[in-house]
Protein backbone atom coordinates (compact mmCIF):
# COMPACT_ATOMS: atom_id res chain seq x y z
CA UNK A 1 0.00 0.00 0.00
CA UNK A 2 1.29 3.45 -0.92
CA UNK A 3 2.02 5.99 1.78
CA UNK A 4 -0.94 8.11 0.59
CA UNK A 5 -3.30 5.14 0.65
CA UNK A 6 -2.38 4.16 4.19
CA UNK A 7 -2.75 7.76 5.45
CA UNK A 8 -6.15 8.10 3.74
CA UNK A 9 -7.33 4.85 5.27
CA UNK A 10 -6.11 5.86 8.73
CA UNK A 11 -8.18 9.07 8.54
CA UNK A 12 -11.28 7.12 7.49
CA UNK A 13 -10.86 4.61 10.31
CA UNK A 14 -10.45 7.46 12.80
CA UNK A 15 -13.30 9.70 11.63
CA UNK A 16 -15.92 7.08 10.80
CA UNK A 17 -15.06 4.73 13.65
CA UNK A 18 -14.99 1.73 11.29
CA UNK A 19 -12.80 -1.35 11.28
CA UNK A 20 -9.62 -1.12 9.19
CA UNK A 21 -10.46 -4.17 7.07
CA UNK A 22 -13.77 -2.58 5.98
CA UNK A 23 -11.85 0.30 4.39
CA UNK A 24 -11.31 -1.27 0.96
CA UNK A 25 -10.89 0.68 -2.28
CA UNK A 26 -14.42 0.28 -3.59
CA UNK A 27 -16.10 0.92 -0.23
CA UNK A 28 -18.53 3.86 -0.45
CA UNK A 29 -18.39 6.32 2.45
CA UNK A 30 -22.15 6.59 2.70
CA UNK A 31 -23.38 3.17 1.53
CA UNK A 32 -20.74 0.93 3.09
CA UNK A 33 -19.03 2.86 5.88
CA UNK A 34 -22.05 4.56 7.50
CA UNK A 35 -21.07 8.16 6.79
CA UNK A 36 -23.72 10.89 6.61
CA UNK A 37 -23.42 14.22 4.78
CA UNK A 38 -21.59 15.87 7.68
CA UNK A 39 -19.10 13.00 8.00
CA UNK A 40 -18.32 13.26 4.29
CA UNK A 41 -17.56 16.98 4.55
CA UNK A 42 -15.35 16.31 7.54
CA UNK A 43 -13.43 13.60 5.67
CA UNK A 44 -12.70 15.95 2.77
CA UNK A 45 -11.48 18.61 5.21
CA UNK A 46 -9.22 16.11 6.92
CA UNK A 47 -7.73 15.06 3.56
CA UNK A 48 -7.06 18.72 2.76
CA UNK A 49 -5.31 19.23 6.08
CA UNK A 50 -3.33 15.98 6.03
CA UNK A 51 -2.05 16.43 2.48
CA UNK A 52 -1.99 20.25 2.36
CA UNK A 53 -4.22 20.46 -0.72
CA UNK A 54 -7.45 22.22 -1.66
CA UNK A 55 -10.37 20.11 -2.88
CA UNK A 56 -13.00 22.37 -4.52
CA UNK A 57 -16.64 21.53 -3.68
CA UNK A 58 -17.51 20.47 -7.24
CA UNK A 59 -14.70 17.93 -7.19
CA UNK A 60 -15.38 16.81 -3.63
CA UNK A 61 -18.80 15.67 -4.85
CA UNK A 62 -17.06 13.09 -7.03
CA UNK A 63 -15.13 11.54 -4.14
CA UNK A 64 -17.52 8.92 -2.83
CA UNK A 65 -15.30 5.88 -2.27
CA UNK A 66 -12.00 5.11 -0.59
CA UNK A 67 -10.35 4.45 -3.96
CA UNK A 68 -11.61 7.71 -5.45
CA UNK A 69 -10.13 9.63 -2.51
CA UNK A 70 -6.75 7.92 -2.90
CA UNK A 71 -6.61 8.52 -6.68
CA UNK A 72 -7.64 12.17 -6.33
CA UNK A 73 -4.97 12.86 -3.71
CA UNK A 74 -2.27 10.94 -5.60
CA UNK A 75 -3.07 13.04 -8.69
CA UNK A 76 -3.09 16.28 -6.69
CA UNK A 77 0.27 15.52 -5.08
CA UNK A 78 2.09 14.73 -8.37
Amino acid sequence: MSDIASRVKAIIVDKLGVDENEVVNDASFTNDLGADSLDTVELIMEFEKEFDIQIPDDQAENIATVGQAISYIEEAKK
Binding site: K15, G17, V41, E42, M45, K49
Partner: protein, 417 residues
Amino acid sequence: MELKRVVVTGLGALTPIGNNIEEYWDALVSGKSGSAPITYFDTEKFKTKFACEIKNFDFNEYFGRKEIRRLDRFAQYALVASDEAIADSGIDLETVDKYRVGVIWGAGIGGLETFQEEVKNFANGDGTPRFNPFFIPKMIADIAPGNISIKHGFMGPNYTTVSACASSANALIDALNYIRLGYSDVIVTGGSEAAVTQAGMGGFNAMHALSTRNDDPEKASRPFDANRDGFVLGEGSGALILEEYEHAKARGAKIYAEVLGGGMSSDAYHMTAPHPDGTGVVAVMENCLRNAGLNPEDVDAINTHGTSTPLGDVAELKAITKVFGDHAKTLNINSTKSMTGHLLGAAGAIEAIASILAMKHSLVPPTINHETADENIDAELNLTLNKAQEREVNVAMSNTFGFGGHNACVLFKKIAE
Protein backbone atom coordinates in the same frame (compact mmCIF):
# COMPACT_ATOMS: atom_id res chain seq x y z
CA MET B 1 -61.45 22.83 29.02
CA GLU B 2 -60.38 20.79 31.98
CA LEU B 3 -56.65 20.50 32.50
CA LYS B 4 -55.22 17.00 32.66
CA ARG B 5 -53.24 15.84 35.68
CA VAL B 6 -49.52 15.27 35.25
CA VAL B 7 -47.30 12.85 37.17
CA VAL B 8 -43.62 11.90 37.26
CA THR B 9 -43.02 8.29 36.22
CA GLY B 10 -39.28 8.13 35.58
CA LEU B 11 -36.06 9.70 36.87
CA GLY B 12 -32.46 9.80 35.69
CA ALA B 13 -29.38 11.65 36.92
CA LEU B 14 -25.74 12.10 36.06
CA THR B 15 -24.27 14.43 38.67
CA PRO B 16 -20.96 15.37 40.31
CA ILE B 17 -21.95 13.31 43.37
CA GLY B 18 -23.49 10.28 41.68
CA ASN B 19 -23.83 8.85 38.18
CA ASN B 20 -27.37 7.51 38.51
CA ILE B 21 -30.43 8.12 40.69
CA GLU B 22 -29.44 5.65 43.40
CA GLU B 23 -25.90 7.03 43.75
CA TYR B 24 -27.18 10.61 43.59
CA TRP B 25 -29.68 10.06 46.40
CA ASP B 26 -27.19 8.21 48.62
CA ALA B 27 -24.71 11.06 48.22
CA LEU B 28 -27.38 13.72 48.87
CA VAL B 29 -28.49 12.26 52.17
CA SER B 30 -24.97 11.48 53.34
CA GLY B 31 -23.88 15.06 52.71
CA LYS B 32 -21.19 14.38 50.12
CA SER B 33 -19.46 17.24 48.29
CA GLY B 34 -18.79 16.89 44.55
CA SER B 35 -16.24 19.69 44.49
CA ALA B 36 -12.57 19.01 43.70
CA PRO B 37 -9.64 20.46 41.73
CA ILE B 38 -10.41 20.73 38.00
CA THR B 39 -8.97 17.86 35.95
CA TYR B 40 -10.08 18.95 32.46
CA PHE B 41 -7.47 21.66 31.86
CA ASP B 42 -4.52 23.43 33.44
CA THR B 43 -5.91 25.95 35.93
CA GLU B 44 -2.62 27.59 36.88
CA LYS B 45 -3.69 31.03 35.66
CA PHE B 46 -7.33 30.73 36.72
CA LYS B 47 -8.65 32.47 39.83
CA THR B 48 -10.84 29.46 40.67
CA LYS B 49 -9.12 26.09 40.29
CA PHE B 50 -11.93 23.73 41.33
CA ALA B 51 -15.41 22.70 40.23
CA CYS B 52 -17.93 19.87 40.53
CA GLU B 53 -16.99 17.63 37.59
CA ILE B 54 -18.60 14.34 36.59
CA LYS B 55 -16.39 11.52 37.87
CA ASN B 56 -15.70 7.88 36.98
CA PHE B 57 -17.99 7.59 33.97
CA ASP B 58 -16.60 6.03 30.78
CA PHE B 59 -18.32 8.02 28.00
CA ASN B 60 -16.23 6.34 25.28
CA GLU B 61 -17.55 2.99 26.42
CA TYR B 62 -21.16 4.28 26.66
CA PHE B 63 -21.30 5.93 23.24
CA GLY B 64 -18.61 4.31 21.12
CA ARG B 65 -15.92 6.16 19.21
CA LYS B 66 -17.99 7.36 16.27
CA GLU B 67 -21.01 8.59 18.24
CA ILE B 68 -19.01 10.46 20.87
CA ARG B 69 -17.30 12.68 18.28
CA ARG B 70 -20.70 14.01 17.22
CA LEU B 71 -21.77 14.96 20.77
CA ASP B 72 -20.63 17.81 22.96
CA ARG B 73 -20.42 16.78 26.62
CA PHE B 74 -23.72 18.54 27.41
CA ALA B 75 -25.47 16.29 24.88
CA GLN B 76 -23.68 13.17 26.14
CA TYR B 77 -24.91 13.95 29.67
CA ALA B 78 -28.44 14.50 28.33
CA LEU B 79 -28.49 11.09 26.64
CA VAL B 80 -27.13 9.24 29.68
CA ALA B 81 -29.65 10.75 32.12
CA SER B 82 -32.62 10.48 29.75
CA ASP B 83 -31.77 6.83 28.98
CA GLU B 84 -31.96 6.09 32.70
CA ALA B 85 -35.25 7.97 33.12
CA ILE B 86 -36.87 6.31 30.10
CA ALA B 87 -35.82 2.86 31.31
CA ASP B 88 -37.00 3.71 34.84
CA SER B 89 -40.44 4.74 33.55
CA GLY B 90 -41.00 1.30 32.06
CA ILE B 91 -42.60 2.85 28.97
CA ASP B 92 -42.80 0.25 26.21
CA LEU B 93 -40.98 1.90 23.30
CA GLU B 94 -42.50 -0.64 20.89
CA THR B 95 -46.12 0.16 21.65
CA VAL B 96 -46.20 3.79 22.85
CA ASP B 97 -47.62 6.31 20.33
CA LYS B 98 -44.39 8.16 19.55
CA TYR B 99 -46.22 11.15 18.06
CA ARG B 100 -47.58 11.66 21.59
CA VAL B 101 -44.12 11.63 23.23
CA GLY B 102 -42.17 14.89 23.31
CA VAL B 103 -38.79 16.05 24.59
CA ILE B 104 -38.52 19.49 26.21
CA TRP B 105 -35.04 20.06 27.55
CA GLY B 106 -33.21 22.83 29.40
CA ALA B 107 -29.68 24.05 28.70
CA GLY B 108 -28.38 27.40 29.85
CA ILE B 109 -25.48 27.53 27.41
CA GLY B 110 -25.13 24.36 25.32
CA GLY B 111 -21.92 23.13 23.72
CA LEU B 112 -19.52 25.64 25.23
CA GLU B 113 -16.46 23.42 24.87
CA THR B 114 -17.20 22.78 21.20
CA PHE B 115 -17.57 26.53 20.61
CA GLN B 116 -14.36 27.27 22.51
CA GLU B 117 -12.28 24.67 20.65
CA GLU B 118 -13.54 25.57 17.17
CA VAL B 119 -12.96 29.28 17.69
CA LYS B 120 -9.49 28.58 19.15
CA ASN B 121 -8.61 26.56 16.04
CA PHE B 122 -9.79 29.36 13.80
CA ALA B 123 -7.95 32.04 15.78
CA ASN B 124 -4.74 30.00 15.65
CA GLY B 125 -4.96 29.52 11.86
CA ASP B 126 -4.23 31.82 8.93
CA GLY B 127 -7.74 33.24 8.72
CA THR B 128 -9.12 30.50 6.48
CA PRO B 129 -12.46 29.48 8.00
CA ARG B 130 -11.88 25.73 8.31
CA PHE B 131 -14.65 24.97 10.75
CA ASN B 132 -15.65 21.38 11.42
CA PRO B 133 -19.03 20.49 9.88
CA PHE B 134 -20.13 19.23 13.30
CA PHE B 135 -19.31 22.58 14.98
CA ILE B 136 -22.79 24.10 14.81
CA PRO B 137 -24.89 20.94 15.24
CA LYS B 138 -22.76 19.89 18.25
CA MET B 139 -22.91 23.28 19.91
CA ILE B 140 -26.51 24.48 19.58
CA ALA B 141 -28.49 24.22 22.80
CA ASP B 142 -31.42 22.42 21.15
CA ILE B 143 -29.33 19.48 19.94
CA ALA B 144 -29.74 17.63 23.26
CA PRO B 145 -33.50 17.02 22.83
CA GLY B 146 -32.84 16.53 19.11
CA ASN B 147 -30.50 13.65 19.88
CA ILE B 148 -32.83 12.16 22.51
CA SER B 149 -35.66 12.06 19.97
CA ILE B 150 -33.42 10.59 17.26
CA LYS B 151 -32.27 7.83 19.62
CA HIS B 152 -35.78 6.79 20.68
CA GLY B 153 -37.98 7.95 17.79
CA PHE B 154 -40.06 10.40 19.86
CA MET B 155 -41.96 12.59 17.38
CA GLY B 156 -43.91 14.96 19.65
CA PRO B 157 -42.97 18.56 20.63
CA ASN B 158 -39.19 18.97 20.77
CA TYR B 159 -37.13 21.98 21.79
CA THR B 160 -34.82 23.51 24.38
CA THR B 161 -35.67 26.24 26.86
CA VAL B 162 -32.89 28.76 27.58
CA SER B 163 -33.18 30.87 30.72
CA ALA B 164 -29.70 30.45 32.23
CA CYS B 165 -29.91 28.69 35.58
CA ALA B 166 -33.71 28.43 35.40
CA SER B 167 -33.62 26.60 32.04
CA SER B 168 -34.60 23.10 33.11
CA ALA B 169 -37.26 24.38 35.52
CA ASN B 170 -38.75 26.23 32.54
CA ALA B 171 -38.53 23.01 30.52
CA LEU B 172 -40.37 21.16 33.28
CA ILE B 173 -43.10 23.79 33.40
CA ASP B 174 -43.52 23.72 29.61
CA ALA B 175 -43.72 19.92 29.73
CA LEU B 176 -46.33 20.15 32.50
CA ASN B 177 -48.43 22.61 30.53
CA TYR B 178 -48.30 20.74 27.20
CA ILE B 179 -49.49 17.56 28.89
CA ARG B 180 -52.13 19.48 30.86
CA LEU B 181 -53.41 20.91 27.57
CA GLY B 182 -53.47 17.53 25.86
CA TYR B 183 -50.67 18.08 23.32
CA SER B 184 -48.70 15.05 24.53
CA ASP B 185 -49.14 11.98 26.75
CA VAL B 186 -45.50 11.78 27.77
CA ILE B 187 -42.68 14.33 27.76
CA VAL B 188 -39.05 13.58 28.50
CA THR B 189 -37.83 16.69 30.30
CA GLY B 190 -34.86 17.83 32.34
CA GLY B 191 -31.65 19.60 31.51
CA SER B 192 -27.93 19.28 31.04
CA GLU B 193 -24.88 21.51 31.14
CA ALA B 194 -21.14 21.13 30.60
CA ALA B 195 -19.57 24.52 31.22
CA VAL B 196 -16.51 23.41 33.18
CA THR B 197 -14.22 24.63 30.40
CA GLN B 198 -11.63 27.37 30.10
CA ALA B 199 -14.25 29.73 28.67
CA GLY B 200 -16.82 28.83 31.32
CA MET B 201 -14.52 29.16 34.30
CA GLY B 202 -12.84 32.29 32.93
CA GLY B 203 -16.16 33.88 32.09
CA PHE B 204 -17.83 33.25 35.43
CA ASN B 205 -14.62 34.28 37.24
CA ALA B 206 -14.68 37.58 35.38
CA MET B 207 -18.13 38.25 36.83
CA HIS B 208 -16.85 37.51 40.36
CA ALA B 209 -19.57 34.88 40.53
CA LEU B 210 -17.45 31.90 41.62
CA SER B 211 -16.03 30.93 44.98
CA THR B 212 -12.22 31.20 45.10
CA ARG B 213 -11.76 28.95 48.15
CA ASN B 214 -8.94 27.06 46.38
CA ASP B 215 -7.45 25.74 49.61
CA ASP B 216 -10.63 23.85 50.51
CA PRO B 217 -12.81 23.05 47.47
CA GLU B 218 -15.14 20.66 49.32
CA LYS B 219 -16.12 23.44 51.72
CA ALA B 220 -16.51 26.13 49.05
CA SER B 221 -20.22 25.74 48.31
CA ARG B 222 -21.75 26.90 51.60
CA PRO B 223 -25.18 28.41 51.04
CA PHE B 224 -26.44 30.62 53.92
CA ASP B 225 -23.07 30.49 55.74
CA ALA B 226 -21.72 33.92 56.74
CA ASN B 227 -18.44 33.27 54.89
CA ARG B 228 -19.88 32.15 51.54
CA ASP B 229 -18.02 33.71 48.63
CA GLY B 230 -19.73 32.65 45.43
CA PHE B 231 -21.04 29.54 43.71
CA VAL B 232 -19.13 26.43 42.65
CA LEU B 233 -19.59 25.51 39.01
CA GLY B 234 -21.04 22.05 38.45
CA GLU B 235 -21.96 19.98 35.41
CA GLY B 236 -24.19 17.06 34.54
CA SER B 237 -27.78 16.26 33.82
CA GLY B 238 -31.12 15.38 35.33
CA ALA B 239 -34.07 13.83 33.49
CA LEU B 240 -37.73 13.36 34.42
CA ILE B 241 -40.50 11.56 32.59
CA LEU B 242 -43.71 13.57 32.88
CA GLU B 243 -46.86 11.68 31.96
CA GLU B 244 -50.56 12.28 31.81
CA TYR B 245 -52.08 10.68 34.92
CA GLU B 246 -54.63 8.40 33.19
CA HIS B 247 -52.00 7.31 30.65
CA ALA B 248 -49.66 6.36 33.51
CA LYS B 249 -52.42 4.58 35.44
CA ALA B 250 -53.58 2.65 32.37
CA ARG B 251 -50.16 1.08 31.93
CA GLY B 252 -49.70 0.45 35.65
CA ALA B 253 -46.72 2.79 35.90
CA LYS B 254 -45.01 3.55 39.19
CA ILE B 255 -45.75 7.16 40.08
CA TYR B 256 -43.22 9.22 42.02
CA ALA B 257 -45.25 12.40 42.45
CA GLU B 258 -47.78 14.72 40.87
CA VAL B 259 -46.54 17.94 39.30
CA LEU B 260 -49.06 20.37 40.72
CA GLY B 261 -47.96 23.65 39.23
CA GLY B 262 -45.32 25.93 37.89
CA GLY B 263 -44.57 29.60 38.42
CA MET B 264 -42.59 32.02 36.27
CA SER B 265 -41.58 35.65 36.70
CA SER B 266 -38.86 38.13 35.89
CA ASP B 267 -36.93 40.51 38.13
CA ALA B 268 -36.81 43.19 35.40
CA TYR B 269 -33.93 44.69 37.33
CA HIS B 270 -30.31 43.80 36.40
CA MET B 271 -28.47 41.42 34.04
CA THR B 272 -26.89 39.39 36.83
CA ALA B 273 -27.66 40.86 40.28
CA PRO B 274 -30.76 39.65 42.12
CA HIS B 275 -33.33 42.27 43.08
CA PRO B 276 -32.40 43.22 46.68
CA ASP B 277 -36.06 43.14 47.79
CA GLY B 278 -36.66 39.83 46.01
CA THR B 279 -39.88 41.11 44.43
CA GLY B 280 -39.58 38.82 41.39
CA VAL B 281 -38.82 35.87 43.65
CA VAL B 282 -41.86 36.62 45.81
CA ALA B 283 -43.96 36.82 42.65
CA VAL B 284 -42.73 33.48 41.29
CA MET B 285 -43.53 31.55 44.47
CA GLU B 286 -46.93 33.24 44.76
CA ASN B 287 -47.90 32.53 41.18
CA CYS B 288 -46.63 28.94 41.49
CA LEU B 289 -48.87 28.41 44.55
CA ARG B 290 -51.83 29.91 42.63
CA ASN B 291 -51.09 27.75 39.59
CA ALA B 292 -51.03 24.66 41.82
CA GLY B 293 -54.17 25.69 43.71
CA LEU B 294 -52.34 25.56 47.04
CA ASN B 295 -51.99 27.79 50.10
CA PRO B 296 -48.57 28.59 51.58
CA GLU B 297 -49.45 26.42 54.60
CA ASP B 298 -49.68 23.35 52.32
CA VAL B 299 -45.94 23.40 51.56
CA ASP B 300 -43.57 21.28 53.69
CA ALA B 301 -40.16 21.78 52.08
CA ILE B 302 -38.36 24.14 49.72
CA ASN B 303 -35.23 23.27 47.77
CA THR B 304 -33.92 26.80 47.29
CA HIS B 305 -31.95 28.24 44.42
CA GLY B 306 -29.40 28.94 47.22
CA THR B 307 -26.22 29.21 45.15
CA SER B 308 -23.91 30.34 47.98
CA THR B 309 -23.56 33.89 46.70
CA PRO B 310 -23.56 36.77 49.20
CA LEU B 311 -26.60 38.63 47.78
CA GLY B 312 -28.75 35.88 46.29
CA ASP B 313 -29.09 33.64 49.34
CA VAL B 314 -30.32 36.43 51.63
CA ALA B 315 -32.74 37.84 49.06
CA GLU B 316 -34.30 34.41 48.50
CA LEU B 317 -34.81 33.70 52.21
CA LYS B 318 -36.37 37.13 52.72
CA ALA B 319 -38.72 36.38 49.86
CA ILE B 320 -39.65 33.02 51.41
CA THR B 321 -40.46 34.74 54.71
CA LYS B 322 -42.59 37.27 52.87
CA VAL B 323 -44.57 34.60 50.98
CA PHE B 324 -44.94 32.08 53.81
CA GLY B 325 -45.12 34.35 56.88
CA ASP B 326 -44.93 32.39 60.16
CA HIS B 327 -45.28 29.12 58.26
CA ALA B 328 -41.75 29.74 56.89
CA LYS B 329 -40.37 28.66 60.29
CA THR B 330 -41.97 25.23 59.98
CA LEU B 331 -40.60 24.55 56.48
CA ASN B 332 -37.58 22.37 55.76
CA ILE B 333 -35.50 24.72 53.63
CA ASN B 334 -32.32 23.40 52.00
CA SER B 335 -29.84 23.96 49.20
CA THR B 336 -28.52 20.80 47.57
CA LYS B 337 -26.09 23.02 45.62
CA SER B 338 -23.94 22.80 48.76
CA MET B 339 -23.16 19.27 47.52
CA THR B 340 -23.65 19.27 43.74
CA GLY B 341 -22.37 22.74 42.95
CA HIS B 342 -24.37 24.84 40.51
CA LEU B 343 -25.32 22.89 37.40
CA LEU B 344 -26.66 26.02 35.64
CA GLY B 345 -29.22 24.86 33.08
CA ALA B 346 -29.42 21.42 34.70
CA ALA B 347 -29.95 22.77 38.24
CA GLY B 348 -33.75 22.90 38.05
CA ALA B 349 -33.90 19.27 36.95
CA ILE B 350 -31.54 17.71 39.49
CA GLU B 351 -33.09 19.79 42.28
CA ALA B 352 -36.63 18.81 41.27
CA ILE B 353 -35.42 15.20 41.48
CA ALA B 354 -33.98 15.87 44.96
CA SER B 355 -37.37 17.26 46.06
CA ILE B 356 -39.26 14.28 44.63
CA LEU B 357 -36.92 11.79 46.30
CA ALA B 358 -37.21 13.69 49.61
CA MET B 359 -40.99 13.10 49.42
CA LYS B 360 -40.49 9.45 48.51
CA HIS B 361 -38.04 8.73 51.34
CA SER B 362 -39.47 11.21 53.91
CA LEU B 363 -35.95 12.53 54.31
CA VAL B 364 -34.74 16.04 53.44
CA PRO B 365 -31.12 16.29 52.19
CA PRO B 366 -28.94 18.75 54.09
CA THR B 367 -27.35 22.09 53.32
CA ILE B 368 -23.75 21.12 54.04
CA ASN B 369 -20.72 23.25 54.94
CA HIS B 370 -22.60 25.54 57.31
CA GLU B 371 -20.25 26.80 60.02
CA THR B 372 -21.12 30.41 60.88
CA ALA B 373 -24.59 31.92 61.02
CA ASP B 374 -25.20 34.97 58.84
CA GLU B 375 -26.73 37.76 60.92
CA ASN B 376 -28.81 38.81 57.89
CA ILE B 377 -30.63 35.47 57.94
CA ASP B 378 -33.54 34.78 60.30
CA ALA B 379 -32.16 32.27 62.83
CA GLU B 380 -35.62 30.73 63.24
CA LEU B 381 -35.63 29.33 59.71
CA ASN B 382 -34.85 25.60 59.48
CA LEU B 383 -32.17 25.50 56.78
CA THR B 384 -31.61 21.72 57.23
CA LEU B 385 -28.02 22.42 58.17
CA ASN B 386 -25.28 19.80 57.73
CA LYS B 387 -27.39 16.69 58.35
CA ALA B 388 -30.41 15.20 56.55
CA GLN B 389 -33.68 15.53 58.49
CA GLU B 390 -36.51 13.02 58.63
CA ARG B 391 -39.71 14.70 57.58
CA GLU B 392 -42.97 13.61 56.06
CA VAL B 393 -43.03 15.77 52.93
CA ASN B 394 -46.36 15.90 51.12
CA VAL B 395 -45.72 19.05 49.09
CA ALA B 396 -42.28 20.20 47.97
CA MET B 397 -41.30 23.40 46.19
CA SER B 398 -38.19 23.83 44.04
CA ASN B 399 -36.87 27.30 43.15
CA THR B 400 -34.45 28.23 40.37
CA PHE B 401 -33.40 31.67 39.17
CA GLY B 402 -31.24 32.63 36.20
CA PHE B 403 -28.99 35.46 35.08
CA GLY B 404 -31.25 37.81 33.16
CA GLY B 405 -33.66 37.87 36.10
CA HIS B 406 -35.56 34.71 35.11
CA ASN B 407 -37.35 33.05 38.02
CA ALA B 408 -39.01 29.64 37.89
CA CYS B 409 -40.66 27.59 40.61
CA VAL B 410 -42.25 24.14 40.61
CA LEU B 411 -44.51 22.37 43.12
CA PHE B 412 -44.73 18.60 43.55
CA LYS B 413 -47.18 16.62 45.63
CA LYS B 414 -46.96 13.10 46.95
CA ILE B 415 -49.61 10.95 45.33
CA ALA B 416 -51.59 8.32 47.22
CA GLU B 417 -50.56 4.81 46.15
